[in-house]
Amino acid sequence: MHHLIPLLVAVPLFGAALLVATGRHLPRIAAEITGFVFSGGTAALALVLLLNSSPPMTEWAGGWLPVAGESVGIVVVGDGPALGMAALASLLTLAALAYSWRYFDEPPRDRTGSFTALMLVFQGAMCGFAVAGDLFNAFVFFELMSVVAYALTGYRIDEAKAVQGALAFGIVNSLGAYAMLTGIALLYARTGELAMAKIGHGLDVAAGQDGPDALVLASFVLVLTGLLVKAAAVPFHFWLPDAHAVAPTPVCMLLSGVMVELGAYGAWRVYGTVFAGPGGIPAADLTRALVALGILTAVTGAVMCWYQRHIKRLLACSTVAHTGLFLVGLGVLTPEGDAGIALYLLGHAGVKAALFACAGVLLDRFGSVDEHALHGRAQGQLRATAVMFAVGALGLAGLPPFGTALGKSLTEEAVGGPLTVVYVAASAITAGAVLRVTARVFLGLGPRPEDAEYETSGSGEEPETSGPLRRIPDTMTTVPAVLLAAALAVGVIPGFGALVARSVDEAGSGGVHAPAHWTLPGVLLGVASTVLAAALAGLAVTRLGWVAAPGWATPLRRLQSGHVGDYVAWLLVGATLLGALALPGILGS
């Protein structure tokens, strides 16, 4: 079975090559069916492998097995989290391809299939990153995933905002990747190994009795900088709202649903395999670094989300807030936290992709995703979309029995105490913002807000379809419905939570199993954040003063300047901050 793992990368890449070679001679329908076959085939393979992932598998690609403990081959791992992320990425790609079935109505004449081909490369790169067992291949797939994402973000090259967002995305993410590669080179210099598990062992041997030194700290900071840029942790997050607001909607579903989360997954994987030993970074320092950055990310994301009027940008900021919550949960390093975050991530992927899909319907119908301009425009029509938007908001808030609620309640128990407040507040504020949009756009409630000075409006977006489609294609409403149902299923199907928890803990915590079931406090907290979200949305609609940004939020919004130089400077600040947060353990040893 383990021989099949490299196919997760090879199959979509082959499909993409086939489409590039023959795409211009194919009718559109044939190109899209080819995309479905390869994407769906990979998804099926990932699911089959996932079901067989206990005990975890390891594969040396091409049969380059280690000889006497020394290896030069490429190792891929097939444990629950790796194959789970690959399956999630594949299924979301399939959903995005189905959504875009009639979305780009007229692809350019000689570029039939190019979008599908790019999506397949994206899928292959995400699967490759998820299963990579050595750091250099993780870097290569990280870069491949990034490059395809830049191209997909700037896919509509005639649009001014799209190319600007794609460039900021490209420069910041590439710089993060180079920082990661520098860290990998330092680790190789110390241990002479590239496979993650072997680097971890090599660090422990090299450190001996002395514990970690400055080189270990430097490599930790550099590798984590790359991964946290991808995960959009504050202050590495500035690229994300710019890129997600301008990318085509099917691409946003993938970017927000799984690519950003892969950064958090990478941080979890790298810390657990490379730096968790006695020669690595002490657990207390990792917890301090990730929890501090996570709280900062959750708060910043939630505040930014609340003050957006551009609906896709609003959803993008809510992704920032939620990755902050993921980082806090992973940072506490408990089996319960890991299991909770895995479930939270699955539920969030479904909900967020569905919300983006609904925003795409608005963009198609009205040529705008601006909350103010659309005020009341969708009243009385688009009922299905309105319901799905509201249901998505409830899922975002963590209303039981959504998968997000199950994951959130497990994580809240793992982090405990005051950190619970961060979870309730961040999910309530982001969901409140989405509910506010629902009330304004689909119900026409409240007076129309006035324009503020410093913000990105969602008007003047180029429609992604050539003129409004005659009617909304069934795929564009079916896909979000299926995604929401999947997010619900994560929480509802009996035993699914326990299965995910067992699979994650088998890979992460060495056999300590966390229970995964609903608890009364968890359910109550989920209901509390939903009620809070509804109350916030109600206040925002009836009391306009509540959404007008107060003085203290303006500096925060001004930081999001759209200037790529600023973003690079913040990246350096973030790397320094990460180093300072992890420093005490090195000094103490």
Partner: protein, 115 residues
């Protein structure tokens, strides 16, 4: 171990970052990103260097007869260069498109996405 290559690597990375942060021209910014990346080439090659060693090419060399530098980092550098070429080409294409759509390549004048 020679310290100089490592210092050069760090200097290149930080110079590139400084250039990116203060750039007034996006083509210059993409060039600065390439400078940052060349820091990784220098670092990788410095990691594999051995005193008195030769290139790891065994066509005219009996294996084991004399030390060679680490071929793994050279393979990594080559992969890295391919990655860098792709990224630079794509980013320059985006800059070209920005110049067409915005009429400027000065990042200070691109203020459509903010807040």
């Amino acid at each position: 171990m020679h310290v100089l290559p490592y210092l050069v690597g760090a200097y290149l990375f930080l110079t590139g970052c400084y250039g990116l942060a203060t750039s007034r021209n996006l083509i210059h910014a993409v060039g600065c990103l390439a400078v940052c990346q060349s820091a990784t080439y220098v670092l990788l090659l410095a990691v594999g260097y051995r005193d008195g060693a030769t290139a790891p090419v065994f066509s005219d060399l009996k294996p084991g007869s004399r030390p060679v530098v680490d071929p793994v980092v050279q393979a990594l550098t080559l992969t890295d260069i391919v990655v860098g070429a792709t990224v630079t080409a794509l980013l320059l294409a985006l800059v070209l498109q920005i110049a067409k759509r915005h009429g400027t390549v000065d990042p200070d004048e691109l203020r459509e996405l903010r807040g």
